[in-house]
Amino acid sequence: MKDKHIETFKQEAFELLEVLEASLMELESAPDNEELIGQVFRSLHTIKGGGGMFGFDAVAAFVHNIETVYDKIRNNEISVTDSIIDFTLKAKDQIYEMIRSEKKDIESDSETQEILNFFKNYLGTINTATENKPQEQNNVEDNNGQIIVYHIYFEPFEDLFLKGTRPTGLLSEIAGLGTSIILPNIDRIPFLNEINPETFYTSWDIFLSTDKDINTIKDVFIFVEDDCKLRIDKEDTGELKGDAEYYKALLEKKNSDSITKDHSQDIKLNKPGIQNKSKKDKQHNEKESSSSIRVSSDKLDLLVNLVGELVTVQARLAQTATTSQVPELVSISEDVERLTWELRENALNIRMLPIGSTFNKFNRLVRDLSKELGKEVELVTDGGETELDKNVIEKLNDPLVHIIRNSIDHGIELPEKRLEKNKDRCGKVYLSAMHSGTHVIIEIKDDGAGLNKKGILDKAIEKGIITSDAELSDKEIFSLIFHAGFSTAKKVTNVSGRGVGMDVVKNAIESLRGIIEVESKEGEWTKIILKLPLTLAIIEGLIVRIDKECFVIPLSFVEECIELTSAKKEETNGRNILNVRSEIIPYIPLRDKFDLKENMPEIEQVVIIKDSNLKAGLVVDEIIGEHQTVIKSLGKYYKNVEVMSGATVLGDGTVALIIDIPKMLSEEIKLEEKQYHKSI
């Protein structure tokens, strides 16, 4: 049955290790923070405890010394140093490996030993006394078959009930060890009107004939030995010599003989004093944790999918209800609509996670990288509470790692160089997240060398990405770094430049329906901006119609809608531009683009869209309205279709294609450039 719990333990341990790492990183800048120290200790303690329970003895043994060091830190015997944190972080990686690979023994490799020795030395120099206390003797041993009669005197203290102890249970346990005569002393029981039912008044004299040794008898009383007077004496050998009367008489004789002797033999009467009050107070101040349950993300995905289907069906119901004009049906339909909307919001919310946990992981990355490269870098994060779909967060990890690596490797200069440039020795990488409508904006900014425009241009020309006579804006130059195969690193370092370029990052972000941009000022800073949708599953869309086909335009791109009369078209001599409040906006007649020629209406509609700084119009026949769109992929046969990002099922059951606005615009720009070059 243990196997069943091992998985739970592993998962839990991995989470604890994350907590441990985050606490250590924080502890580095606030070494006196008691709460953090407590958290580190507790994480280690729980890993050790679970390790021992579930067969990870090596882990338990490995963690033991480290835990002891933190216990001493907790008790102000040792103070936190950089090297302690360093080694604990290393240890964390080792523990992770040990648990992941289910190692049974502590590795004898140099790193593990180094970590172990470090912590052992720490204990050695301070205090070795507390290590390895002997375990309680639990062995049941026989007296070599010899039967002995013991006289046990058991007098519980008055507050025994308040310890939850049932003395009758103890007596029957004793009785189970052999043959016994149990004689209660009831002299102390007061008159009924003076009895306090919470107080304990009885004591016992027990004569037990058994082949078990004295330790076995003591074990019976192990939990109460501090709460009673207990004496166990060897009385005789062999079986009991008589009945209760015989032993009563024996007792009376004994008591009159030796009253004075009694006290010297009492076992442990002193109660230990209360200690460590401050420690307890501290734990009260711990952060509130909300109770939660674990659900596999597959189940959540399924839920969201089903809610998506429900949204579609609900839309159909709404449509049918409206056309039927049956008041009762309309009212039901409205209720369903409200509930569906709430359900949708909630279902999507379940998958929302704050991005902070991902941000925290980067502390370690930045720390390790900067040490490796001999740079001083500080990571400043902001907006960690910003929530994003779990799937988006997961897929965001690798691109972010890559961008941050680039920032530290290529961006931030060496400390000496920074001083020369009148910059702070310590470089900064800012990582921030914030909401912006239905999107989340993530910015990664470093105050390093900035992008070298000339370097980029030369490289791009050398690689044949652009021609030498190309005239590019700053933005276009910077965006060249996202081109496949582009890398300006002079040498391949361990950190970046492993052949994976920024183009991979760009593809990853675009597969999340996100946008990546770069801004920079040479010599001062570089900023990478990621714009990501809150969720991948459902978008708000604007449904438009061309001839008999419906299309969906993601609402986040839509600026406004205006009419396009034939008079307006003639004004510009068919050059497909519009004058909107003295702004010149080009438009794309989707009829031409999608080759739909039938039923051209008198007045067409233009949907003005905006992607980054680019504005354009899409000409359609009719604008139907807003719609919650559940995105379905087009399937592998259509995976090469660029301008459509997916499809959705409308209320009446028809399929509408979702237009991929950024792709469509960039394609249009390319076409336009080609025509321009041709015309020259």
């Binding site: 679970g50 939850g164 939990f223 109770s291």
Partner: protein, 121 residues
């Protein structure tokens, strides 16, 4: 009627293991993630016994024991604390607060059941 035992531990794996062992032995089990959770649940449902870890966030085991001992429904019920070898002083502190007994981690299922039987009678 089967007796109800509450297991209190911030470690899900240990909680699960204790719970599983007790359920197999025929007890009802209520789980709580820390002292605070336990104290809230104790008010709502009566239990015959508590098995609690000592080191927990929000409200530790010692405070939970004190809480239980100062409230009528739980005043006299057995409370077992889970300790480790190195926690001798915690153990006596827990005993002072009113714990009935203890189990030293790591423990086997049989040990757990033996102790439960011992204190529950």
């Amino acid at each position: 009627m089967p007796k109800t035992i509450m297991t209190v531990d911030d470690s899900a794996s240990i909680r699960q293991m204790v719970s599983f062992t007790l359920k197999e032995a025929g007890y009802n089990v209520i789980e709580a993630v820390d002292g605070k959770d336990a104290s809230e649940k104790l008010v709502k449902a009566p239990v015959n016994m508590i098995i609690t870890d000592l080191n927990m966030p929000n409200m530790d085991g010692i405070s939970l024991i004190k809480f239980a001992r100062s409230n009528a429904p739980t005043k006299f019920i057995p409370i077992i604390m889970l300790t480790t070898e190195s926690q001798a002083e915690k153990k006596s502190e827990g005993k002072m607060a009113g714990a009935t007994g203890w189990i030293v981690k790591p423990f086997q299922q049989e040990q757990l059941l033996a102790v439960v039987k011992k204190v529950l009678g």
